[in-house]
Amino acid sequence: MNKPELNRRHFIKGIGATAILWQIPLWQACKRPVPVFKGILPGTQQKILHTVLNHLFPETTESPGIEQLHTEFHINTYLTDPQIDPDEQKYIINGITWLDETSQELFKTNFLSLTYSQQIKILENILQTSWGEYWLSRLLTLTFESLLLDPVYGVNVDEAGWHWLHHQPGQPRPQSGITYPEILKRKKEHLIITGLDQL
């Protein structure tokens, strides 16, 4: 899908839809304190992101969650990657703000103060908007990257995602020196190659 414009128009459509009955995931059932990943986002924004990601991709007894996968680390890497479209990066960050604004508009309080079911209602609501659907879709894509990319990128720790989905990686796997963005250095090489011995 094409990226929508970077605003929140067409957003508020009410919260009439009834929340689906959700299996309460581990992170909610255990009521663990929210560990704050330290990246480029301010603490509150990071906590909101953490909470949303847990809703999108909750840890269960059989499957890894975002903490084990280092999803927030991966998103932070994405947000600081100079190769990425700055508009896309801003969109990820703006979405956090817009989500919190939605919470204020619909429940008169911030997203982190909502109950579990109220947070679900907010997410279902923004899914009916083009910006919200695109934002959550982008977060899921980044979550999938943290689930299934090679652990050399600091994600998919202990190959937890691969084990869960019985995925067999291809060989050879990426090693230091040829990973992204190291491989991009080839695009700056000033060479005239006249023999195979130069390669």
């Binding site: 995931p25 479209d85 999938f144 990319l149 040829i178 000033h190």
Partner: protein
């Protein structure tokens, strides 16, 4: 590169259209210089890293730096232009030494004799600019055979009613190992009186010189090959060219202007080096093979007094009649838990190929008119093993709603552990029309300040009709196999990796850019050897034909230089 050296041949680009020229002329003792816009990725640089191969722009330019403009029909039926940087709709392919041949799947099929005379065989179609080729299949056959030997094609010849004539009995390399599902396709097709035949691949099934055989990595298309089994122009041809001592390759050299001498001859190529500095190369003959869109763009950018509309474009034909491969895709799912454990285990076996194609539909009967019409090809393949991309495709449910939470996780787990998806790809002619062409954007520029290509991508409705008929027949095969969730998606959206046309070859200098030797009508020492020359594309992938034609033109250039 010695200062003031005048090379025999300067080649712009280094993919399938360039490799044979580089190889043949270097081997013949001529001094060849290659200007390649992208970097040199060595075989050791390639791994099965999804981050590098598909998740980020590593093998293709960053769209911030090098956008293109796509002109498509909007909801009101008007042509609207948007930068690919705005939309993320990327039209680049592999930009590196060897070009996109490094990342192809290597599904190889020859054109058939009828593809060289589509107009005279089936007649005109209103709204389409169909033209016969100025050469015949017989002219190209020896070069198809040469590609089999030099680039390396594996497979098994099985006679069928639309088989392209061959000068040798079989492929030089035996077929690659197959998954059990290939025999299921054969059986189901046979029950429907359809002939399923082995699909040839530009992948070595046994060692060839320095290149090792395929090791069935399970990650072929979109990935560089780590055994050099895949027949990229880089390992199959350019490595050998370098061994002659007659060839020099400058990676990260973006050519932006071809300069003429005032007498309809090219004199030098201007390029930006890796540091962004302007440089020049002089040569006796210039060969442009930058892939169809960028070849037309370079010619259009190379304006001067002699050629105010762009190089070799005084008849206004450069960029016109761009074509892609028309068609679509489809597929169906097989569930492991419905199979005996041994069969499920064989179906789940990674790495080995499907390698089945159906050519029976190459000619069809129009259901309305009852007239014969050109049809197409179906190739079968497994869904790519790329796990992130696979998960992303499962984000949306059948109603187009985003999956998330525990429901998403249950779905993902079942999909990854219990489903093997068999896909099919349909290839039909993308009829050339006045609404599919390359121009220069008047507004959008790349990081060097040059106008980017503006690509109008209109398709002809006939393409969809033909593809739709073949899709229904293909779905019947999957149904007979017992697949679930069978679908087909026929689209007028062009596949960006299968592009040709824009510098048509032909005998009429008023209507074509190149003569039958792929030499510009207006510029004696300019040849174009990528897919740009093709007036029609046939109903198979282009790469084998591009390789073969480049070998043909290499012989012509050798004759000119002798």
């Amino acid at each position: 590169m010695a200062k003031n050296e005048i090379y025999d041949v300067c080649v712009v680009g280094s993919g399938a259209g360039a490799g044979p020229v580089i190889y043949e002329l270097s081997k013949a003792g001529y001094k060849v210089i290659v200007l390649e816009k992208g970097p040199w990725f060595r075989t050791e640089d390639f791994s099965k890293d999804e981050m590098v191969a598909t998740r980020r722009s590593v093998y293709t330019p960053n769209l911030k730096d090098e956008p293109q403009v796509i002109e498509d029909l909007n909801d009101k039926g008007e042509w609207g232009a948007k930068s690919t940087f705005e939309t993320g709709r990327d039209f680049w392919n592999g930009n590196c030494v060897g070009g996109s041949s490094n990342f192809m799947s290597g599904y190889f099929a020859r054109l058939k004799p009828v593809d060289f005379k589509l107009l005279s065989t089936y007649g005109e179609i209103p709204g389409a600019n169909i033209a016969d080729w100025p050469i015949t299949y017989d002219d190209l056959e020896p070069y198809y055979e040469k590609v089999e030997r030099l680039v390396g094609v594996s497979g098994k010849v099985v006679p069928h009613k639309f088989m392209s004539p061959r000068s040798t009995p079989d492929y030089p390399y035996p077929p690659l190992a197959e998954n059990i599902i290939s025999s299921w396709i054969d059986e189901a097709a046979a029950q429907l009186n359809i002939k399923s035949i082995p699909l040839a691949r530009a992948i070595l099934s046994r060692k060839k010189g320095d290149r090792n055989a395929c090791y069935y990595s399970n990650y072929c298309g979109s990935y560089g090959c780590s055994s050099d089994a895949k027949g990229s122009a880089r390992v199959a041809l350019i490595h050998d060219a370098l061994k002659t001592g007659n060839c020099a390759v400058i990676p990260n050299a973006k050519v932006y202007h071809l300069e003429t001498d005032g007498h309809n001859r090219l004199k030098k190529a201007w390029f930006y080096d890796a540091a962004g500095q302007k440089q020049t190369v002089e040569a006796k003959i210039f060969v442009v093979a930058a892939q169809a869109v960028e070849t037309s763009r370079l010619l259009l950018m190379s304006r001067n007094k002699e050629f105010p509309n762009g190089l070799a474009n005084n008849n206004g034909q450069v960029g016109k009649n761009l074509i892609f491969s028309g068609g679509g895709t489809g597929g169906g799912d097989f569930y492991y838990d419905e199979l005996e454990p041994e069969l499920a285990s064989q179906l789940a076996k990674p790495g080995v190929f499907v390698n089945r194609t159906i050519q029976d539909f190459y000619e069809l009967t129009d259901p309305r008119s009852g007239q014969k019409m050109k049809g197409g090809t179906v190739d079968f393949l497994f869904e790519h093993a790329n796990p992130v991309s696979k998960a992303i495709r499962e984000k949306w449910d059948n109603d187009g709603k985003l999956r998330w939470g525990t429901g998403l996780k249950k779905h993902l787990h079942r999909y990854f552990t219990n489903v093997r998806k068999l896909k099919f790809e349909i290839f039909v002619d993308w009829l050339p029309t006045d609404n599919c062409f390359v121009g220069l954007s008047p507004k959008v520029k790349d990081k060097w300040g040059d106008p980017v290509a503006k690509i109008r991508i209109g398709n002809h409705p006939h393409d969809l009709k033909v593809a739709g008929i073949i899709a229904e027949k293909s779905k019947q095969i999957l149904a007979k196999m017992g697949a679930h969730n069978i679908y087909a998606s026929i689209s007028g959206a062009p596949p960006n990796n299968l592009q040709a046309g824009g510098c048509r070859f032909g005998n009429d200098p008023k209507k074509t850019v190149l003569n039958k030797f792929c030499q510009a009508h207006e510029v004696e020492n300019l040849f174009v050897t990528d897919g740009s020359f093709m007036p029609t594309g046939g109903s198979v992938t282009f790469t084998w034909t591009i390789y073969a034609n480049s070998f043909r033109v290499a012989d012509i250039i050798k004759g000119k230089l002798a």
